[in-house]
Symmetry: C2
Subunit: 204 residues, 2 copies
DNA sequence: AAATATACTGAACAGTGTTTATTTTATCCA
DNA sequence: TGGATAAAATAAACACTGTTCAGTATATTT
């Protein structure tokens, strides 16, 4: 029965086309431009067709988010090169920050906006972020076990580093850091220095 | 000419009615329910009337945000009671966290969603957050000057504390912390403990 | 070739922010 | 006080959004 297989493949290809169009629009034109109608236009299908492949917009955005997390994992893989765990923490933190600057709209979808998380059931687990999260968790766990950091609990360590960097990034992306009246051009460098200072602070 | 004064007063009163209705809806029913039409319904005016008092939704949300920041400042005033600067840091951080839990939808408007910041011009300053920010900045500046913390620069200290706590809050509000598979009921206590751990970490 | 199953779409529904022409209400002046 | 003027409020429309559904076109099966 090669026919059902081909149909499955075609279904998957269509989903690919939809997700690719969506992520392109995210990166190129920003979140606002990503409407079902705009995606449909781009792939030259009617809006209703998209609903044959995705039950709603959230479910589609969830797949786009998965794609974005793939990019982040690749980013980590490329930029975390050190052997020393503490150095790896710093490399990860800075790579995470750099990613947020290079792909602001994707960062939004991955970590800030509500949308795609609605399609994750209350009890169900959220798999998209797992690979990237594991990177951080494994490094921090190693740091804790080798007593390289001032944390006793690996989970506290992991979430603290994540929260610290994400905090800066999201306050900045949402223009709340404006209140500090810093020079906008100097901001990225300032945030990087804060991150580095933090990593130094947690060293044992 | 008492008439123009009365008109001004009436204009202000109308803006009050609109903002009050909006903030009530935010707190009671959440961000999604706050549409111009819904607000108009609540104050028993037509939607178009709102545009006689606010140029667009962003400008209205900006005033709602100002109201919300008033609540936060009151929260700080009530909960930051210690004399010792380091104790004050901890009280502020925990008060900030408690506020975010008690007024989740307001926190959204104040620190997470894009919306009301569009009505702040690029070069113009954002006044809404100033009082609350000053609370934190003054405390951190004192800590730095008295060498109570491992920061040399007051601004780095201020933004680091803010980013750390905001990071946890926003990852949690947006369900991204799900990835850590912690017990949901135990989460608030866990976050509090992370915040306390951080405050201890930055002590000189 | 006819019957069935699959894929797709046009049009509609209910909602959004916003604008404009029109009507209602209030103020001013003769 | 009555008519002109100014201010305030609105109904209706526009252009958009996510989503659904009846109907059409295309494949597949018999």
């Amino acid at each position: 029965m090669g026919i059902t297989e081909r149909k499955e493949r075609e279904k998957a290809e269509m989903r690919r086309r939809i997700v690719d169009a969506a992520i392109d629009m995210f990166v190129a034109e920003g979140y606002e431009k990503v409407s079902i109608r705009n995606i449909a236009d781009k792939i030259e299908y009617s809006p209703a067709t998209i609903y044959l492949y995705y039950k709603d917009k959230d479910e589609l955005l969830y797949d786009v988010q998965a794609e974005a997390f793939g990019k982040l994992a690749a980013y980590f893989k490329a930029k975390i090169t050190a052997a020393d765990p503490l150095e790896r923490v710093e490399q990860l933190a800075l790579a995470y920050f750099d990613f947020s600057q290079e792909y602001q709209e994707l960062y939004d979808l991955m970590f800030i906006i509500k949308a795609p998380m609605n399609s994750v059931e209350e009890d169900e687990e959220w798999k998209n972020g797992l690979e990237a999260f594991s990177y951080l968790r494994d490094i921090m766990t190693e740091c804790v076990e080798k007593k390289l950091v001032r944390f006793e609990d690996p989970m506290t360590a992991t979430l603290s580093v994540w929260a610290f960097v994400h905090g800066f990034i999201s306050l900045n992306l949402r223009c709340r850091i404006k209140i500090a009246q810093l020079d906008v051009l100097a901001l990225p460098a300032f945030v990087r220095s804060c991150v580095q200072h933090y990593v130094n602070t947690i060293k044992a």
